[in-house]
Symmetry: C2
Subunit: 365 residues, 2 copies
């Protein structure tokens, strides 16, 4: 499968006049080679040219790379005693990129590797490969969709299990830790960051982390979690009421729910990324709450929790079948509380399919 | 406490003629500001000058940043609709770095932020701040040591609990998942990557990931785990025998144990990083196994799992009290099995204290 991906990469490179693409350990390296590695002080860097693929790699990773790569790679190993200069020297014997056009993954290649690459390839034009790599990964195949569906199931079943333990007096932090365990128990293979459990006034901060605050009667409770299965992400948010909540909070819940529905309904082939954002935002703005929905409506989802396509004003990218992203409008009233309802969708031939089955009606706990 | 850290940063900047230090979400940002943030496609970048501290930050992070920063920061927020250009434009009104000397954290600043910084600061000299930042963080204070000690306790008690469940037929992967749970249960607050459980021939690959292989009689079993408590790492490796193992494997176990002891004994004020490596390596090389110990003896440990000081040939940095690092020699016989014994130490006034209490004698399970 990765060979087919390399072929598509090379077709895009030819189209755009790119001689080489530079990638470090990241979702992109995994997508192209099957190698799941981590950025560290030991530099690992792949260079894909039109007819070859090279990997500068710490010697102690070589056995693992040889076993696990899904594509032929010419390895340039370097030991701890030599350090990375030895890898570049080995590459120099096999490849020159002087004066070439190189696209580097600007979202993961660090200044560390970029300056080494600039030293290696004299007079090269170095540009950002992230749009090209994003385009490559945007349309999911059946196996990728299967992994995403399983990740969503893990989130839904673990959230449901967590709800049995939610009660007044429990802290956000203990619920977040508990949910993380439950995700693993239900089959997650990775949780790069703890879920968000935000209650009462804290729920009015869209990007909070869970605190020692204890749940209280009248709170809104936001549960926002993510996990991977076979490397692919699911991402869910639901908002609950702890006992009786105010009419104002019920009102913003209803608005957010309608915005979520409108956003999902706008997701279809031919629409642009910004159309989904506009559809969701219109519901909230028309009701006078526009200033309290201060983030984009969604983000692409796949090997990364945030990837292309961006569901934001200004993104004119046309949606096509197989693209996957979140639809997650929210309304946040400072000091009072917030609501966010997040689903993952995949664009189909004639609309979009929602990967979630979890109910969206306001549930009182 | 972070104000004192900023003062030390500025003293180093003055010493080295640096006008500004650029940092993105990382251990360095956390160390200097108390902000625990994550690299994402939404650019966040701090610039510390001799007399000010600026933060370009996504608008939706602003409330959290205002609540949690431990130092005064001038915030330049930007919304999803404007994107990061708005943050740079706001910074431009407050600060010019044209022609200045800027040090950027090359190990976490990405090509993405570096090119934006180059556009912002015309004719600036941009260099690598990582050595400066490493120096800043290398000596731990009492609170930092307390967190590291607690992280080590979590590793030791969870490893001990795991051993009750280790038996022939269990797979590496299920033991790794189980250990991860046990770490959380014993008080870990973060595990950035699953532990390594490597058995039989797999134990001969120092950087393997856990596989579906089931433990068998005669295996060596390497358990290598890490976790954070209050953001600080512990890192432990022990090797066990599953039933009776060959005399050759027992022999390399004894050698590795002696190398570990020799490395720890060489850790003291006045010694260099490479002296610890040499002391451990000599035991193994003298016995004829030098080629099978193909990694450095250790790495600094603290807010990052790998940080300064590097315990490797060529590192002439002089050790001083408060520096923390691992001592983890290993011998890996391809196809047969490997041994690694890893302790965390802190340099004291007259030697080094080992943070581990876990026994090192070969335990047969």
């Amino acid at each position: 499968m990765s060979l087919e991906r390399l072929q598509r990469l090379r077709a895009l490179m030819t189209q755009r006049g790119v001689d080489a693409v530079a990638v470090v350990p990241s979702a992109n390296l995994f997508y192209l080679t099957g190698l799941q590695m981590h950025l560290s002080e030991r530099v690992t860097l792949a260079l894909f040219t039109r007819d070859a693929a090279h990997l500068i790699v710490p010697a102690l990773e070589v056995p693992r790379v040889e076993t696990r790569t899904r594509v032929p790679l010419t390895l340039h190993g370097w030991s701890d005693a030599e350090w990375v200069q030895a890898g570049w020297a080995s590459l120099k014997k096999a490849l020159s990129l002087d004066g070439c056009s190189i696209a580097a993954d600007y979202y993961s290649v660090r200044a560390l590797e970029l300056t080494q690459l600039q030293n290696f390839a004299r007079d090269a034009q170095i540009s950002d490969a992230s749009e090209l790599l994003g385009a490559l990964r945007m349309t999911k195949d059946a196996a990728e969709m299967d992994a995403m569906r399983r990740a969503v199931r893990v989130l839904e079943t673990s959230m449901d299990a967590l709800l049995h333990e939610v009660r007044v007096g429990k802290t956000e932090r203990e619920l977040a830790a508990r949910w993380q365990w439950l995700m693993f128990e239900h089959g997650a293979d990775g949780i790069p960051e703890a879920p968000i459990v935000a209650s009462g006034p804290n729920s009015a901060q869209p990007h909070t982390t869970s605190t020692a605050r204890a749940l209280a009667e009248g709170d809104l409770l936001i549960l926002d979690g993510w996990c991977t299965v076979d490397g692919y992400f699911g991402d869910i948010t639901r908002t609950f009421a702890i006992g009786a909540v105010s009419d104002e909070l019920k009102h913003i819940y209803d608005l957010t729910l309608r915005a979520n529905q409108a956003g999902r309904a706008a997701a279809k082939p031919g629409a642009q990324g910004q159309d989904v954002d506009r559809a969701a935002r219109k519901i909230i703005s028309d009701a006078g709450y526009g200033e309290f929905f201060m983030h984009r409506t969604g983000h692409g989802l796949g090997l990364e929790i945030h990837e292309a396509p961006n569901i934001v004003e200004g993104n004119t990218l046309t949606l096509t079948p197989g693209m996957t992203f979140t639809v997650e409008p929210g309304i946040y009233l400072p000091g009072k509380g917030g609501v966010r309802i997040e689903d993952d969708v995949v664009v189909t031939q004639d609309g979009a399919e929602c990967l979630m089955t979890y109910p969206r009606e306001l549930r009182v706990i």
